[in-house]
């Protein structure tokens, strides 16, 4: 067998989002706004952020840049739903908005993508399920993430719950990608410890899954690798000293890098399980990922030993003289240890039983996980009994 790297038959790297970073940048990003040529912004956010005065801060930045506020929609909840998006779009339309500004975590940004789609193209959300169904750009979407984990500010994906069909609608379209992502680590300085820990583990999971899955490419690998290095080095520090803007910067950057990586190579079995745990048992996305990450890594180790050895290196381990498999196992042990540290520091749950998941629901969770789109991209063919075994071990 050749020792050279095996390159994929085909890959694409396309980044339609302009990413800007700066400490305090969310107070003034007028230069970037002016190039978008917009005048009436519709804000999509979460009520809870008002207590941190974050929407006000963005509002002032927009107004001082000469962009009027067409309206504010602050009804976003953790797992956004179709009806909510349609209400938001109706409000944006009535307000005469010509751009959408998302302020918040993954759910706010995904909701804003769906609102923008409906505002720009009309119709029902269900009509747009699929891949690359749009034929022209939507209105400009600006994403201002207030957590460091989702990566949604850099992706073309939005996942919205559809209570009618009891399933999730996935919209995948390059035109859904925000036009502008404003990364300001100051917005994350006040994030509570447990949210910092969970969102950081979400970012790490994006990076690990993007790095090993079947659609990975040299470009996505480079970004995933750097995201892993940053999360491994800084996540515990951010939990201990949330006010350290340098540490917060590292995580903010890592999160977006991991987002760009998985926007190209997708995620795998770990997210498949996390989505099902979120949908059925309301387990917080990042916490579900944290619990399932070492188990999913073990599951995939046998088909990606070289890559898992590299992951151990990105996580900061010295793997010289070790076999790929042993190095990979050390990387997995590192992730377990990180989880334990985050448990001790931030109360991050380490068992599904700690977050109210009852054991007798696990077969249903496993069955639902098998229907998740991410399973397809996992490097090892996923069997339902193996998923159930992983869930049981995490319980």
């Amino acid at each position: 067998m050749s020792t050279a790297m095996a390159f994929p038959d085909f890959f694409q790297f396309h980044l339609p989002v302009r990413i800007v970073f700066g400490k305090g940048l969310s107070k003034d990003f007028s230069a970037e706004l002016s190039s978008l040529g917009v005048s009436r912004a519709f804000l999509v956010t979460e009520k809870f952020l008002h207590t941190l005065k974050i929407p006000d801060r963005i509002r002032q930045a927009l107004e001082s840049a000469g962009v009027g506020i067409a309206g504010v929609f602050d009804e976003v909840v953790p797992n956004s739903e179709v009806g909510l998006c349609e209400r938001g779009a109706e409000a944006a339309r009535k307000a005469g908005a010509d751009c959408i500004v998302a302020i918040g975590g993954g759910s706010s940004i995904d909701t804003a993508k769906a609102i923008n789609l409906l505002l720009s193209e009309g119709g029902k959300l269900l009509d747009y399920q699929g891949a690359q169904t749009l034929t022209r750009p939507l209105k400009p979407l600006v994403a201002v993430p207030t957590t460091s984990g989702t990566g949604s500010e850099a992706t073309m994906v939005a996942v919205i719950n559809d209570p009618d069909s009891q399933s999730k609608i996935s919209l995948v379209d390059r035109y859904l990608t925000p036009a502008l992502a404003v990364l300001d680590p100051e917005l994350t300085l006040t994030l509570p410890r447990r949210i910092t820990a969970a969102t950081g583990m979400d970012a790490l999971t994006h990076a690990v899954e993007a790095y090993v899955d079947i659609e990975s490419s040299p470009f996505s690998d480079a970004l995933a690798a750097q995201a892993m290095r940053l999360v491994a080095r800084y996540l515990s520090k951010a939990v201990i000293d949330g006010g350290d803007v340098e540490v917060r910067s590292a995580l903010q950057i890592a999160s977006t890098m991991a987002g760009v990586a998985f926007n190209h190579s997708m995620v795998g079995v770990i997210h498949g399980m996390a989505h099902a745990l979120g949908g059925m048992c309301h387990v917080v996305h990042g916490e579900a990922n944290a619990m399932m990450l070492p188990l999913g890594m073990e599951y995939n180790l046998e088909v990606r030993e070289r890559k898992f050895a590299e992951i151990a290196r990105f996580l900061g381990l010295d793997i010289r003289g070790k076999s790929d498999r042993d190095a990979g196992l050390e990387g997995i042990a590192f992730v377990r240890q990180l989880n334990q540290e985050l448990h001790d520091l931030a109360g991050l749950p380490t068992r599904l039983s700690d977050v109210g998941v009852s054991r007798d629901r696990l077969p249903e969770v496993a069955a639902l996980a098998m229907t998740d789109g991410s399973m397809f991209y996992n490097p090892r063919d996923v069997a339902e009994e193996d998923v159930l075994a992983m869930l049981e071990r995490a319980h």
């Binding site: 038959d9 694409q12 399920q129 891949a131 690359q132 996935s170 229907t371 397809f376 991209y377 063919d381």
Partner: protein
């Protein structure tokens, strides 16, 4: 080049495959578990084929096929040039890459479609054999 001269030729070749698959005791039942109506919309030449994996036909086959326009409501619509469709059934199109490049546009629940891919693997070997039987050696791919 275009492989198919016209709509009729398209139905003869791709239909030849679908007619065989819907009687195939190995592949047919696996596809039927998806319980979807899938419509393939072709261009150059124009045509459409609908396969109904939802309603059991009750004639000993595992699903029904319809050639040309029909009124069934489709859960998934896959649009592509007929040549892409032809190459696909030889196993020569990476579906994920084709979706990324917009060579195939898929509307509907994509995860359910991706799940069918393992089940249709064996059809890639069947298609060239069927074309030979139909005397269509000219459009075989190397």
């Amino acid at each position: 080049m275009t492989f198919f001269q016209d709509e009729k030729h398209l139905y003869k070749c791709l239909g030849g495959l679908f007619e065989k698959v819907r009687r195939d005791a190995m592949i047919g039942p696996k596809l039927a578990t998806a319980a979807l109506v899938i419509r393939f919309l072709y261009e150059e030449p124009e045509g459409q084929i609908t396969i109904d994996l939802k309603t059991p036909p009750g004639d000993g086959t595992f699903f029904s096929t319809f050639y040309g326009k029909n009124d069934l409501e489709a859960d998934v619509v896959m649009s592509m040039k007929a040549d892409v469709g032809h190459r696909f059934w030889f196993g020569k199109v990476n579906l994920v890459a084709a979706l990324t490049r917009r060579q195939i546009v898929a509307k509907g629940p994509i995860p359910k479609i991706l799940k069918l891919l393992p089940a249709i693997q064996p059809t890639y070997a069947m298609y060239p054999e069927i074309l030979k039987e139909l005397g269509e050696d000219k459009i075989l791919l190397a």
